[in-house]
């Protein structure tokens, strides 16, 4: 391609700080978000590191239970609302949705920028809350502990999450309208890549569930500040009401976290198998089914909380139902690899790691859905391990897979492949070393959120902390080589992976207007021609 004829890339469209902070280009906003969530990921990760350091000794090494409680609350709050919930939608989703749709930008570019500013304001308030004063209620804010008994900056944390919620709603709304209205000519619903379907399902949950969280937090704040009895039985409230409302948001929210990951994996497996996605419509409708059923399972967090036997039975059954579509997806990804031409680039290694870790996380979810088993395992490290297998082993692996896969598109540079593969393998090993022992700890009865613990849990805790150190190396590595590649990486072509999808038809990095001519879509997604067959026949 003649560089002088090509339109300037979005990265060259202004180099001033102002050109970034006042941009309405979805690609630049995505980059702003990547900077922000990477920061929160490492702050939250540092808290996790201190948690694992403390647990090296049964007596606790950091010397103060109050500090420990603040650390795990900080870890939870930052990781859930400032990394996991936004992670894929606001970064990869923001960057790719218009490119995959063949559009110029999202439907509401200024709303998109506003949602970044809301996110940043929320982030600053959250940092003030968790670092400045500290919150020791855990990320779940159970009442009446949170309403009256807890010291610390509870209100600041609540305000931060309240504001972040509006950022989520704005982003979700933007994606829904964009996917409805800005598809390129010929881009029918069933021609959309699965990533967009996942983003759509995620956005619907964000728009419907987040307001419930906002109301719940508002009620919590009213109770704490004005003493209006909502959740504390001493002043006429009901403590279980808080749990119902909180999980009515927070269970769908875990699907907000994982569904975009499913979308990323559904793009990567076909690309590196050089084969069409197996069972496209089943994968698509599995996402929608998860989004719908995900609203009906919140009660499974409360099997020992004091709800009725009948409600426990209903929520147990529904929890099994919501696991079915996830199983369908796993089988379809494996089916995609069957008779493919499998390449082992870093995104694919992350994706394969994702399938293994997510499946383990999902299967251990069956333990927690089985009522009698849940009674023993809930509120122990088993739940911690289960959650991290899905959210870190699954979701963070998917995020890393996506970042590597679309890195050439976003930056115009290739990352160093050997380093990428090494990082994927170190993360997989470190992750299992960290969290597998926690399943055993949970079965043996070690409660979560304990600053100090009985001696006989020590060996497994040492193993887990050793894993955390490995995992830390695995996460810092990509920070290093990806940054390096920004300056010294090889220039990327428009489509370095030979992947399908409109985003690969535009130069890397794309020009500000995305496409010189609006593309016209004439075929189904994932039409890999299996070019290699020619070589072998």
């Amino acid at each position: 391609m003649n560089p002088s004829a090509a339109p300037a890339s979005y990265l060259d469209d202004g180099h001033t700080l102002r050109s970034w902070l006042f941009t309405t280009d979805h690609k630049r906003i995505a980059i702003l978000y990547i900077g922000a969530i990477t920061f929160f990921f490492f702050v939250g990760g540092f808290a996790a590191f201190l948690i694992r350091y403390n647990l090296l000794s049964p007596k606790g090494l950091i010397g103060s239970a109050e500090t420990y409680n603040r650390l795990f609350s900080m870890h939870g709050i930052l990781m859930v609302w400032f990394f996991l919930v936004p992670a894929v939608p606001v970064t990869l989703g923001n960057f790719l949705a218009p490119l995959m749709l063949g559009a110029r930008d999202l439907a509401f570019p200024r709303l998109n920028l506003l949602s970044w500013y809301l996110f940043m304001v929320a982030g600053v308030v959250a940092l003030y809350a968790v670092v400045g004063g500290g919150v020791d209620t855990g990320w779940t804010f159970y009442t009446p502990l949170t309403s009256f008994y807890s010291k610390g900056h509870v209100i600041a944390a609540v305000v931060a999450i309240f504001i972040a919620g509006f950022s989520s709603i704005a982003t979700g709304l933007n994606f829904i309208v964009t996917i409805h209205k800005l598809r390129a000519p010929g881009m029918t619903w069933y021609r959309m890549p699965v990533f967009l379907w996942s983003l759509y399902a995620t956005s619907v949950i964000l728009v419907l569930a987040t307001p419930v969280l906002a109301m719940t937090l508002l009620l919590l704040a009213f109770e704490r500040i004005f003493g209006i009895g909502v959740f504390d039985p001493k002043i006429g409230g009901d403590p279980l009401l808080f749990q119902h409302l909180f999980w009515f948001y927070s269970h769908p929210a875990v699907y907000v976290m994982i569904l975009p990951g499913f979308g990323v994996i559904s793009e990567i497996i076909p690309a590196f198998s050089r084969k069409e996605l197996f069972g496209y419509k089943f994968v698509v409708w599995a996402s929608i089914a998860i989004a719908v059923i995900g609203f009906l399972v919140w009660g499974h967090h409360m099997f020992v909380a004091g709800t009725s036997l009948f409600s426990a039975l209903v929520f147990s059954l529904l929890s099994y139902m919501v696991a079915v579509p996830s199983a369908i997806k796993v089988f379809n990804w494996i089916g995609t690899m069957h008779k493919g031409y499998i390449h082992f680039d870093a995104p694919m290694l992350y994706a394969i790691g994702f399938i293994g870790l997510f499946t383990t996380g999902g299967l251990t979810g069956l333990f927690l859905a089985a009522l009698a088993a849940d009674v023993h395992l809930t509120q122990t490290y088993f739940v911690v391990a289960h959650f991290h297998y899905v959210m870190v082993g699954g979701m963070v692996s998917a995020y890393f897979a996506g970042i590597h896969f679309w890195w050439p598109k976003m930056t115009g540079r290739l990352y160093p492949e050997m380093w990428g593969r090494a990082g994927a393998i170190i993360i997989f090993v470190g992750f299992n070393l960290t969290f597998f022992p926690q399943f055993l700890l949970g079965y043996l009865g070690m409660p979560r959120r304990y600053f100090a613990y009985p001696q006989h849990f020590e060996a497994l805790n040492l193993l887990s902390s050793a894993g955390a150190l490995t995992l830390a190396v695995g996460y810092i590595l990509p920070l290093g080589y990806l940054t390096w590649s920004l300056f010294y990486g090889e220039r990327a072509s428009a489509n370095p992976w030979g992947a399908t999808g409109l985003e690969w038809t535009t130069p890397s990095p794309p020009p500000t207007e995305n496409f010189a001519v609006t593309p016209i879509v004439t075929e189904e997604p994932y039409q890999y021609r299996q070019a290699e067959t020619v070589n072998h026949e």
């Binding site: 020992v304 004091g306 036997l309 690899m337 069957h338 089985a370 079965y443 009865g445």
Partner: protein, 320 residues
């Protein structure tokens, strides 16, 4: 502490059996998933010349098969876990009741004979034990891993937990619901002993002579707080002729259906008595003017439990 494996209760072993089944199902699925991935990445790696054939077009048969298989397995697990859960939380009628109060950050236990202990619970083996639990402040959770059982302990309610220990021993007790800074320290031990040893333990302890059983203590409170002024000595009930006001009889109250002025009918359980004491305006009893004053803030959780124990001890028509 000992005796974690195998579980010290019959129900605990059933839970272990369910968990074992879940482990086996998980291992089978993981073997399938990892096995297929491993097979495919070797067999269908890009530079492998193995013949791939024409790509299949029809996928729905596979989809239906694995969806149906997943559903079937899930349904079995659901029935299994649900059935056992219902049994785990339905205490036998003849269970020995022991009262537990959680507070930041300790467990207070009171036996019916008035024996009290902190962060420890002594129980006899081979006899169903039912804990009636409440909290003075935040939500706690009473968890005994060796029995594979736990339940949240909420303020303003009585939650119940039951078990029957087979193996004598000392077992760990944890609070497993985050309850503040001292959460990690809110642990203790459950000591299971034979019936004779348990009786010896009940009879021993500090100043056994001064101990008063819970119902007797409740009786003293019943007079001291003026309850008998309306409800009559022994809770026989009051009328304008006897006590000067209409007040319902309390003897034989537990387990009875009570009609409220709202038209609703409730079963009188511990929580009902507690609510009548602390928030009587919320449950006016049909047929009586609502003149019962609230004792909220005047009676400790322990004394509420003692009053309940006293009311429980009143049999219909009896005068103790």
């Amino acid at each position: 502490m000992n005796g974690y494996l195998p579980s010290a209760t019959v129900e605990g072993r059933e839970v272990d059996f369910l968990i074992l089944a879940l482990v086996l199902v998980s291992c089978a699925v993981l073997a399938l998933v990892f096995g297929l991935i491993l097979l495919y990445v070797v067999r269908y790696r890009a530079d492998s010349g193995v013949y791939r054939g024409a790509p299949g077009r029809k996928t729905w048969r596979f989809e239906i098969s694995w969806t149906a298989a997943t559903l079937a397995v899930f349904f079995v697990l659901f029935i299994w876990g649900g059935d056992l859960y219902v049994r785990l939380f339905q205490p036998p009628a003849d269970a020995l009741q022991i009262y537990v109060i959680g507070k930041q950050w300790m467990w207070k236990v009171e036996h019916q004979g008035g024996q009290r202990e902190i962060n420890a619970l002594h129980v006899p083996i081979n006899r169903p034990i039912q804990l009636v639990m409440t909290s003075e402040d935040v939500i706690h959770d009473f968890s005994i891993p060796a029995f594979r059982i736990k339940h949240d302990v909420l303020p303003g309610r009585y939650e119940s937990l039951w078990f029957q220990v087979e193996t004598p021993g000392t077992y760990e007790l944890f609070c497993t619901q985050l309850c503040g800074v001292g959460h990690y320290s809110m642990s203790g031990e459950v000591v299971a002993m034979s019936q004779p040893e348990f009786e010896t333990w009940l009879a021993g302890g500090a100043a056994p002579g001064q101990r008063e059983d819970m119902a007797a203590a409740g009786k003293a409170l019943f007079t001291a707080h003026g309850c008998s002024g309306c409800h009559g000595e022994g809770g026989v009930g009051g009328s304008p002729a006897t006590t000067g006001v209409s007040a319902p009889a309390l003897a034989g109250l537990l387990g009875r259906s009570v009609k409220l002025q709202t038209g609703a009918t409730v079963t009188a359980d511990e929580k009902f008595i507690r609510d009548c004491l602390l928030t009587p305006d919320k449950m006016p009893i049909a047929g009586y003017p609502q003149i019962m004053p609230s004792f909220s803030g005047q009676i400790s959780e322990e004394n509420v439990l003692r009053l309940i124990a006293y009311i429980k001890s009143l049999k219909s028509g009896s005068r103790t």
